[in-house]
């Protein structure tokens, strides 16, 4: 497969995948269970989900390693399995997609707060990200995806850690913003211009946003990134905010709604488009026609 950097440089739009958590729950992920355990114990499920997204037209398939940093795994007593869980995730996705899609290594927040707001030293967080990134890199990923970040310091530590262990790997880095009276900010107070600047300076090849409040607000987020980013933009929106219907949690935005609004994302200059919480292979399939 041609490198993703070259395709982005030519102005191509590339389709990412959708949510993993909701699909894992449908396949038996129990409340409170560590999703990364599926990478080793039930890797057939991982292969199945990867294949579903590939079949729907996604060209970037994310690994099930969002919570795979040792700092985060430590809370479940699994830090010593960091290498195995991350490598298992990559291997399972690779078995499903071979070289028909980019295998993108997901790195999410550690769940810890840096000093002085929390108790975690930056060096300890950097070390944790490096250990996860090294495990993912040596398992053979095509790119990295730092996602759902709200603290710019944590996000840049993650990007820098990847750069340290995989100097040439493409890195996509996205943060999660809320709409406030004064514009978009993360809960930690990071604005879109600050995110674009900081993530790029740390070495990200693509910047943008994931999760959030659905595609309608994401269009605004994308436009603001368009005004401030000097690199391609990625947007992976939730299928809206979850609501409870008859005791079941559902995400309200249908594939049709997402596909109807997505051209505005592309018009804002978004080059990597996919979904976050609540999106399904059907959502990705609906986006495929717009991307090709």
């Amino acid at each position: 497969m041609e490198g993703i950097r070259e395709r982005l440089a030519r102005g191509e739009v590339i389709l990412g995948d959708g949510a993993w958590g909701t699909l894992l729950m449908e396949r038996g992920l129990a409340p409170g269970e560590v999703p990364e355990l599926f990478n080793l114990d039930r890797s057939a499920v991982i292969e199945e989900i990867a294949a579903l997204y590939l079949d729907a037209g996604a060209e970037i398939i994310t690994t099930n390693t969002f919570g795979g940093s040792p700092l985060r795994l430590e809370a479940a007593g699994l830090a010593d399995r960091t290498e195995a869980l991350n490598a298992g995730a990559v291997a399972a996705v690779r078995r499903a997609v071979a070289d028909h899609a980019y295998v993108s290594a997901s790195i999410g927040p550690t769940g810890r707060l840096l000093r002085p707001f929390g108790d975690t030293e930056p060096a300890r967080m950097a070390e944790a990200f490096e250990r996860q990134a090294a495990a993912l890199a040596s398992a053979g990923v095509d790119m990295f995806c730092v996602e759902t970040m709200t603290d710019l310091d944590e996000a840049t530590l993650a990007v820098a850690a990847i750069r340290a262990v995989a100097p040439r790997a493409p890195i996509l880095a996205t943060m999660t913003f809320e709409q406030t009276r004064r514009g978009f900010y993360t809960v930690m107070g990071v604005s879109i211009p600050a995110a674009a600047r900081g993530l790029q300076a740390a070495g990200a090849d693509v910047v943008g946003s994931n999760c959030g409040f659905g595609i309608d607000t994401m269009i605004e987020v994308a436009r603001e990134f368009g005004r401030h980013a000097g690199v391609p933009i990625a947007i992976q929106a939730n299928a809206g905010l979850p609501v409870t219907r008859n005791g079941v949690t559902v995400y309200p935005e249908t594939p049709g709604h997402v596909a109807a609004r997505a051209p505005e994302l592309l018009a804002a200059g978004v080059q990597i488009i996919g979904g976050c919480c609540g999106t399904t292979p059907a959502h990705i399939r609906a986006l495929r026609a717009l991307v090709r």
Binding site: G21, G32, R72, A75, A76, T180, R182, G189, P242, T249
Partner: protein
Amino acid sequence: MDILAQIAEQLELGDDERVHGLTRQAIDAGLPPADILNRGLIGGMNAVGEKFRVREIFLPDVLLAAKAMYAGMDLVKPLLVKERVPTRGTVVIGSVRGDLHDIGKNLVGIMLKGAGFDVVDLGADVRAEAFVDAVVSERASIIGMSALLTTTMPVMKDVVDLVTARGLRPSVKIMVGGAPVSADFAREIGADAYAFDAASAVDRARALIG
């Protein structure tokens, strides 16, 4: 500016050393500890909560203000206990089993303490039995549960059911919150209240045991 207003102001700025010093001064000047708490520390924290609610300030500011609040509270609390000043009541809080997110829950704890409640924080990944055991041993009136994942929300119902099974209803009230949680969900599982954010958790707690 009187010293209590100064305490509130420095707390808002997140200056824990100043808040500590001013609280010490206020105590030495013979001000009633309850006033120092209510008008100084709680007054300041209320303002912080309100500004955070409209995102005039952000999480780091709240966390620094909380540190400053604790710096003052550590001095005032022993005096309140000695004078037998009643608190608003005790709330047991935690993130439910399997949920390791505790930033939102911590904020709720900060705001509840800032509103004069005693808070027993069980941390993250808390089993249903642990909530119920704590509410009994701490003689608490409210359980506050947080879940940030749709995967862990169902655990909240287990806690409600266990509280009922142990015969603790209706004297023990239950409130729930967290990103995927809604008022509908709270109603469905039989919780008494849903709090959208940390500031509204304080409003709900006041209403539940007021």
